[in-house]
Symmetry: C2
Subunit: 136 residues, 2 copies
């Protein structure tokens, strides 16, 4: 990471950063979230839950549970898997899964815009303590 130095560091305090997370809920609770959507993208890319999980440093068990959770909550599944056969099988992203990805990223982009706007609204009143790391 490259730190941009604009002026000499004086006694000015940091401006706090806004952060957030968003989800789409279904009948069992979480239905779509950042991690799940990335997982869907990786499944599309690799055609395999195993490879998708590995590419995210996630256990296969966890990845499978997430896929199963999504499939249980949709009328039409996002991922269709086959066992056995050429290459041992694999998994495929359905058209609905594709749309889900688009839907969530749209939501996510809107959210980032929201955070940026809120950031701009922050009053100068709130003074945070500086850190050593901020000096480099």
């Amino acid at each position: 990471m490259h730190a941009v130095k604009k002026k000499a560091l004086g006694k000015t305090s940091n401006s706090p950063a806004l952060r957030g997370r968003i989800w789409i809920d279904g009948s069992e609770g979480t239905f779509l979230g950042h991690g799940r959507v990335v997982l869907l993208e990786r499944i599309r890319e690799y055609g395999s839950i195993t490879k998708a999980a590995k590419s995210m440093a996630m256990s296969y068990r966890h990845a499978w549970d997430l896929v199963d959770s999504m499939n249980r909550q949709t009328k039409k599944p996002f991922v269709e898997a086959v066992t056995g056969g050429k290459g041992g099988g694999g998994a495929r992203l359905t058209e609905d899964g594709e749309l889900a990805i688009l839907l969530f990223w749209k939501f996510s982009r809107d959210f980032q815009v929201f955070l940026k706007r809120e950031q701009a609204k922050l009053p100068r009143g709130l003074r945070l303590r500086k850190t050593v790391a901020d000096s480099e």
Copy 2:
């Protein structure tokens, strides 16, 4: 472990719900979040970290850690505590703490508005499965 589950009503609607959480970050990570702000309010109400924690079913240890984390990251502390004395001591919310509460709730209200607007934008395309009646 009981097999009794909350009876699910047969919903005919399948519109997904949007959910989210927001935080304000400081030099050590989380600085302000929903739980921390409620804690500040309770400290103001009870004048005691112990009573505030109890009112939230939160361990004193955890509450103290949160207060300490906020105080470490602000230039001027949000909570001032005194040990010993009449009643054994207590804790008091500072003016900056008061402003922090207002600031966060404003952020939080804006976020709720955002979620409502996003909800309205949701396409009818995404079909979720209806709440599953117990088949056991």
